[in-house]
């Protein structure tokens, strides 16, 4: 069933449509579930500036919901932008220096992405005369292929920025740690899905997945994100940074599913979006609970909290197992679906294996460093967090297990209707003939990686001799640094340009005279006027 409604009071002459179909429903329910958890969790977590925090949070959830239910590109863009900006205000909620820096980076990159999407939308409107998703089907045949290709690139690049896909991800690992933990949970659980949702809607409405170039480039970026995200997650010391990098890697999974484009892979992608929303939300809430009670966020400072915070420890373990793809937890289902859909491609299988093991290793690190081992001196008086914080976490953990136990129910009731709406193929997807042992390879490899990492001290950036030798070299090639350099260069150029302010008044008057004579000459030599480009 598809519900569609025209909102007349808003943007009147241009129109705005709200539409609820199965695909929207998936993301909308994810927003609502996670939003409710975060609202409850925040009661005890956020202590300062609540008068600012709660209205913003509610606006944020509202705008996210409308983004997922908009039936036309324009309202999609509008709420995309609104939610991005509210997210900025929430990221800078602590108003510290670091938060501002992260927020600036986030907002600039998101606005860039939004601008790129906006340009694509305007171009689409010029081609089709309509903003509605349902009209997008004619885009392919509506004009020169160069223009159409440009539209694709602009739209998908904008969505990539929002989704944190690899070369455009640099806002993500800064913004997540800087934001309050419940907000990080929402950012990672829902907000970055907007990008992927946009790609899905756009590509399936235009039917352009049949283009091999689109498909291959999506797969390429997805593979880079998966691998690099997993590797970088392994090397982080800050708990929330680790989770953020892992989000990049998980978004890679979803993008891969979209890029492959078969029903099986789409089912995997959607399933993984739901799962990731739930268990990443859970993990961020756990990290928040740990940070709240210990006031520490570096993994190397933590340890032995299992006794002090038993419930948090258990739900965190569930989250870690779920994201690592251990059977009976939700991540196993979606990862299996995805890996079955790429069975034919050997390279992708390798990528899958490596990413899954990297993920497992990083979550081993996350869990073991926090909850097992010896309790550091300063943490002997740590207490379990209050029930209002535990309850949402327990709920999310339960949900993760539920999604892992009843895959066929979810597939048939939730995912397949959505795929039936967007996909051109119509073959049923069932979750059967799965060998739970197939999950063993990445787990074994992951354990090995973890062991090696500990032994070689690769995980401790400060202590590892290898890092001290090569770290500076690595930082030179980082994408983040490249962007920062570009921004610094622009600012330097503007500063150079600022010298024009120091010119004397006479020079400025001379400029005017020169301009006047130039104008007269110009008009004289081109009496037909300066032709429009």
């Amino acid at each position: 069933m598809i519900l569609e409604h025209y909102l007349a009071f808003w943007l009147h002459p241009f129109g705005m449509y709200i539409r609820l179909d199965a695909l929207s429903t998936i993301f909308l329910s994810l927003t609502v579930i996670l939003g409710a958890c975060v609202l409850i969790y925040s009661i005890r977590y956020v202590k300062e500036d609540r008068i600012r925090y709660y209205p913003l949070l509610i606006l944020f959830l509202l705008s996210l919901s409308v983004t997922f239910t908009s039936a036309d590109l324009l309202s999609f863009y509008i709420f995309f932008e609104i939610s991005s900006f509210i997210a900025y205000l929430l990221i800078i909620h602590s108003r510290t220096r670091a938060a501002f820096r992260a927020g600036s980076k986030y907002i600039i990159m998101t606005f860039l992405g939004a601008a790129s999407i906006f340009l694509a939308i305007i171009l689409i409107h010029r081609q089709l005369g309509s903003y509605k998703f349902s009209a997008l089907g004619e885009l392919e045949v509506s004009g020169r292929s160069g223009l159409i290709r440009l539209i694709y690139v602009l739209f998908i690049a904008g969505c990539f920025i929002k989704a944190g896909i690899m070369p455009l991800h640099t806002w993500l690992p800064d913004a997540h740690p800087a934001a309050p933990s419940p907000i990080s949970a929402l950012l990672s659980g829902v907000t970055i899905k907007i990008g992927l949702y946009g790609i899905m809607r756009f590509l399936f409405s235009t039917g352009s997945l049949s283009r091999l170039a689109v498909s291959y480039s999506l797969i390429g970026f997805a593979a880079i994100s998966m691998l690099a995200g997993a590797v970088l997650a392994l090397l982080q010391d800050d708990a929330k940074r680790l989770l953020a990098y892992s989000s990049i890697s998980q978004m890679g999974y979803v993008l891969l599913g979209i890029g492959v484009g078969t029903n099986l892979s789409l089912a995997g992608a959607l399933y993984h979006s739901i799962n990731h929303g739930l268990f990443k939300g859970l993990l961020f809430l756990c990290a928040g609970a740990v940070i709240r009670s210990t006031r520490m966020r570096n993994l190397s400072d933590l340890g032995g909290l299992r006794k002090r915070m038993p419930i948090t420890g258990i739900v965190c373990l569930i989250g870690c197992l779920a994201i690592s793809g251990v059977p009976i937890f939700s991540g196993f289902i979606s990862k299996t679906l995805l890996s079955r859909s790429v069975e034919k491609f050997f390279c992708l299988k390798i990528v899958f294996l490596l990413t899954a093991s990297g993920t497992f290793a990083s979550y081993l690190k996350f869990y073991l460093f926090t909850f097992s081992g010896a309790l550091p001196q300063g943490l002997t008086r740590v207490k379990e967090v209050s029930w209002s914080m535990l309850l949402p976490m327990l709920f999310l953990a339960g949900f993760s297990i539920f999604l892992g136990l009843f895959p066929d129910l979810i597939l048939s009731k939730v995912i397949l209707p959505a795929i039936a709406e967007i996909s051109i193929f119509s073959s049923a997807v069932k979750f059967d003939q799965v060998n739970p042992l197939s999950a063993l390879y990445p787990l074994i490899l992951g354990g090995l990686i973890y062991y090696l990492g500990i032994r070689t001290k690769l995980f401790f950036i400060e202590e590892s001799p290898l890092w001290q030798r090569t770290g500076s070299q690595f930082r030179k090639v980082s994408v983040d640094r490249f962007y920062t350099e570009v921004v610094a260069m622009i600012e330097k150029a503007c500063l150079l340009f600022k010298n024009i302010e120091r010119f004397s008044f006479n020079t400025h008057l001379l400029f005017i005279l020169v301009f006047l004579t130039g104008l007269v000459m110009l008009l004289y030599f081109t009496p037909q006027g300066i032709l429009f480009p």
Partner: protein
Amino acid sequence: MSNFPILIVALPLCFAFFISLLSLTKLNRFCGHLALLSVGVSFVLTLCLGPRILAGEKIAYSLGNWPAPLGINLLVDGLSYLLSLIFGLLVLLSVIYSLEDHKGKYFSLVLILYAGMNGVVFTRDLFNLYVFWEILSISAYILVVSPQPASLRASLLYLFLGSLATALFLLGVGIIYALAGTFDMDALAREIPVIWRTQPLAILLVGALFLVSLGIKSGLFPMYVWVPEAHSLAPTPISVLLSGAVLKIGIYIFIRLFLTLFRTEVSLEGLILYWGLISMVFGGCLALVQEDLKRMLAYSSINQVGLILIGIGLGTKLGMEGSLYHLFNHALIKGSLFFSAGMIIESTGKRRIRELKGNGIVPFFPRFSFLMGALAIIGVPPLNGFISKWLICRAAVERGNLIVAALILIFGIVAAVYYLKVVQNLFSVAKMCQTEKRQSSSIPWIKYTCLGTLLGGSLVFGLLPSQGLYLIREAVALIFP
């Protein structure tokens, strides 16, 4: 109702005279209220014209009952009405804002400024336009002077450039008179295509002179010098008027003269487009590296005026719609930005962006409205700046000019960078000490009403673009019938 145009212009002039007399007596403190009364009456009269103008009517008034080519005619059409509405609103709010701080002759100058602005947009006589323009300019030169000593030099700088501009304009008017023998715009609109066939070069010279003088007055790229100086050093309400209204006069005259009068084969579109583009880029880049809050706002005005010109230069109906809408929106947004910047500077005594950091003494409302204004000018929906930017971008794309659209969007992001820098400093954690808190002066509520009106306006015109488009429909119909 047909004598409303002259009333709207003459009432403030008469009151200006009385107020300057009143300021000599003991009733000095009532000058502001009297000014408020007269501006209010004028504004209400303007509003009363609304229904008829927006229904497509034009309201004409002949001074002394002399018919068109002989006497001076005042005519209110869609375009004049739109501008007059902006002026009325901004002047009213500025007078309200300055009720507490200023007295006496200041108000009579504001009234003269108001009368001059309305005169410029109503008159159909080229020389009369020049005279009104000078009237408003002279009062603007004087109004720039604030208690800050540096404002003296800003005022003189503005005076030099402004007088040069009006002198060039007058020269152009003279050449036109020599060619056509009339100052009446309707007659000129008929004459100039005829003259164009015999003496195109003279017309081109006039065009160049007009363009340069308008460029100076609206602060376009090579002749922008006065904008940052005057905007940043003037008293707050005057900055609002300069940025929201006085800069717009140049654009109004441009539209009036070049799009209704000089309808020749020369296409100025490309020139205007590139000029606007350069101004936008220049204003954006320099605003990025400003240290003074109000200076940054001034450069941002250059940026926005460039954007308005781009819309005009695209030469399509959609572009014109976007431009006029943005003209209206920019007046609202820049008004609220300058008002809140003024309040921030007033309450902290600091105007450097860096020094605003960690000031817990700025009241919440100015900070909030600065944030909203910044959002509107960056073009974040659902505020009004988004709608006009969207229209202009669409016009650019439909004209096939992707790069222009991309540049507009990129400079939206540049604007985000420099505005959010201020917002971050305003909202950074307060390090309040008791001594500082005592120093901060409380801001009277009446000033908040100014801010509230403008903010409400930008929200309404962002949420209901149909209302805004309704306002500018007649003006656009004038140019693209």
